[in-house]
């Protein structure tokens, strides 16, 4: 029956990235994820919140980034929601392709997909982009 949810509402600024990652890492530790998984979860959350703060909400501090964690004995789901206009995740350049390898950005979603078991984007009612990431135990 054990269920746990954490919800954060944070201003869209760089400092919020570390705050969100710390809260999710605490929850993941309590849920019993191994150190190795914690590294990946922490990184994926940082990347998702970075995208929400920078691309979604363009660092408008009056607009919130909402982070949700739902944990069970089987694993955890992390959602990060911004109020931006979204993007098309099926048309992203591959950062490991030769023509992109020397670009300074574009690797965040690669890390999210590598370290989490499932990553998907949704457009929730009320607007904005919500990325949902699942990590199994």
């Amino acid at each position: 029956m054990t269920e746990e949810t954490v919800e954060l509402k944070l201003p869209s600024r760089i400092e919020s990235i570390g705050e969100a990652a710390a809260a999710v890492a605490d929850a993941a530790r309590r849920l019993g994820f191994a150190e190795d998984a914690l590294f990946g979860i922490d990184l994926a959350v940082r990347e998702a919140v970075t995208n929400a703060v920078l691309h979604g909400n363009r660092q408008d501090e009056t607009v919130p980034v909402e982070v949700g964690v739902a944990g069970t004995d089987a694993g955890m789901t992390v959602t990060v929601r911004d109020r931006g206009t979204g993007f098309d995740p099926s048309h992203l350049p591959d950062p490991t392709a030769e023509e992109n390898i020397l670009k300074a950005s574009g690797r965040g979603i690669l890390f999210m997909r590598t370290f989490m078991d499932e990553v998907g984007w949704e457009h929730p009612p009320g607007g904005g982009t919500l990325v949902r990431m699942i990590k199994k135990k």
Partner: protein, 115 residues
Amino acid sequence: MAELNIRERQAGDVTILDLEGKITIGEGNVALRSAVRKLVSEGKKKVLLNLSGVSYMDSSGIGELVSSHTTISREQGQLKMLGLGEKIRELLVITKLLTVFDTYPTEAEALNSFK
């Protein structure tokens, strides 16, 4: 306390930057960028980044390594790296940058490789 501490040392004509902390968006990547810009503006083009004190990096930190590499190459300089921990190495494998960057296990080997 700063997220990333950077100490500069000279070994012959090679400048070594000992990095300690995290290279993440905000403080960490900005600190690295300024340090590399300063070296280039001083004409120091043989640069060795000692990453053995770097415990954590995000995609913006990785991006900063790429930018540093590009900036220095553009000036006909050389950027090399030393002391990659297991996790940082894993991120470079995932991004296929491990073969792009010149990395060495020890400082002696790294210094030797500069010509």
